[in-house]
């Protein structure tokens, strides 16, 4: 089922629907590909957890792979390339899911609260940076998409960052309240 969903996210003709606008490609398609990888990682841990325990010592390596895989596909030129070439789209789908979401899940499970906190902060900062870049850039960053798409993506990223920030604040405050009550 997960594999069918994964294929539906990029294989033509459905793949072109997910790439019809910059927002669809960078947020929806990218987000779903990563999330699918994360969920697959979770399912594998649930099923083969005892065999995958050995992965814990590789958590930093897994994190490095995940961070680079996710960062590289944020490059505007590669967003264009995945529209222009079916091969690039396939590599993108494979790497976002199996080199991004999946190792991120396994690394996340093995990381402590401090590192998780750092990752949250970095993700939040990236959302604000990218959002501002896409909203404020006076030139089109992706030649395959119109300028209005770019601004829409920027605005959406900033809104998501704001919601994420509120959620993090709520989690932090809840933790404090529980500590005080305890």
């Amino acid at each position: 089922m997960a594999m069918l969903l994964w294929l539906a996210l990029w294989v033509p003709p459905l793949g072109s629907v997910w790439q019809s606008t910059l927002l669809m490609q960078m947020l929806v398609q990218t987000g779903l590909l990563i999330a699918l990888g994360f969920v697959m990682g979770w399912m594998l841990l649930a099923r083969y957890g005892h065999r995958l325990l050995a992965l814990r010592v590789w958590r930093w390596a897994l994190l490095v792979v995940a961070v680079f895989s996710l960062s590289i596909w944020m490059i505007p030129r590669l967003a264009d390339a995945s529209v222009e070439s079916g091969w690039v789209l396939m590599i993108r789908a494979l790497s976002l899911t199996f080199l991004g979401g999946l190792p991120l899940c396994w690394a996340w499970q093995a990381m402590g609260p401090v590192i998780r906190g750092v990752l949250h902060i970095e993700a939040l900062a990236s959302l604000f940076r990218l959002g501002w870049l896409y909203l404020d850039s006076p030139v089109r960053l992706c030649t395959q998409y119109v300028y209005s798409d770019q601004r829409m993506l920027g605005l959406s990223l900033l809104w998501i960052a704001l919601v994420y920030l509120c959620w993090l604040a709520a989690v932090a405050l809840r933790g404090r309240v529980l500590w005080r009550l305890g």
Binding site: V57, W58, W60, V64, F68, P76, R77, Y145
Partner: protein, 208 residues
């Protein structure tokens, strides 16, 4: 050395190798962290490896056929337009007319040509091109407005120059507009910002 220490060092080494590989890949994909967009990539690629103009036949606003490569021997300054463009292309055309006016001395003696080429040959007939030129070039400069009558030739030219034309979802097109500067041996050597006409003029004059 104890086994767990050896193992730990091995994992650390593998992690460091992955980090280096990731950085190397990022470096390669961005030309040393200088090209994050398709536009900056194509400009850098042209700078590194100039491209020869293709054998395409154009038709100017007077209806005259011009083989693009017959213009070799001149420095060519080219931008791409379409005449039904609501706003931006008027600015592109006006910019080309002004540039032609500034370089009229070197255009008059056949050393330079300023061209605007339409990427919508179906709608941009010579009559339409002439109307476009008249509307933006009151001083009657030597700026030429052309099209490649064949859609295949238009596509060949756009691909070679790295110009990407997309539907703007408002009945028109969006494209990565710039000045394309071709040297006297018909090699596309530089792609420059549209508002950088001073730099374009300086470059062209330095190549004469």
């Amino acid at each position: 050395m104890p086994t767990n220490v050896k193992r730990g060092l091995g994992i650390a080494a593998a992690t460091a190798a992955l980090l280096l590989a990731g950085l190397a890949l990022l470096w390669h994909l961005t030309r040393g962290l200088t090209s994050f967009t398709t536009e900056s990539w194509r400009r850098a690629a042209i700078l590194e490896s100039p491209r020869a103009l293709p054998e395409v036949v154009l038709e100017d606003h007077l209806g005259q056929s011009v083989a693009l490569r017959s213009l070799c021997g001149q420095v060519l300054v080219i931008n791409f337009v379409y005449t039904h463009c609501p706003g931006v292309c008027s600015a592109l055309g006006a910019g080309a007319a002004q540039l032609a006016l500034r370089m009229q001395d070197v255009i008059a003696d056949g050393r330079v040509a300023v061209l605007s080429i339409s990427f919508d040959p179906q709608r941009d007939t010579p009559k339409q091109l002439a109307r476009f030129k008249r509307g933006l070039d009151a001083s009657g400069s030597a700026w030429r407005v052309l099209r490649a009558p064949s859609q295949a030739d238009t596509q060949t030219l756009l691909e070679l120059m790295g110009v990407v034309v997309i539907d703007d979802r408002r009945g028109g097109f969006d494209h990565n507009a710039a000045w394309h500067v071709v040297d006297r041996s018909c090699q596309l050597r530089r792609i420059m910002d549209l508002d950088d006409t001073d730099a374009v003029e300086a470059l062209v004059r330095s190549w004469l």
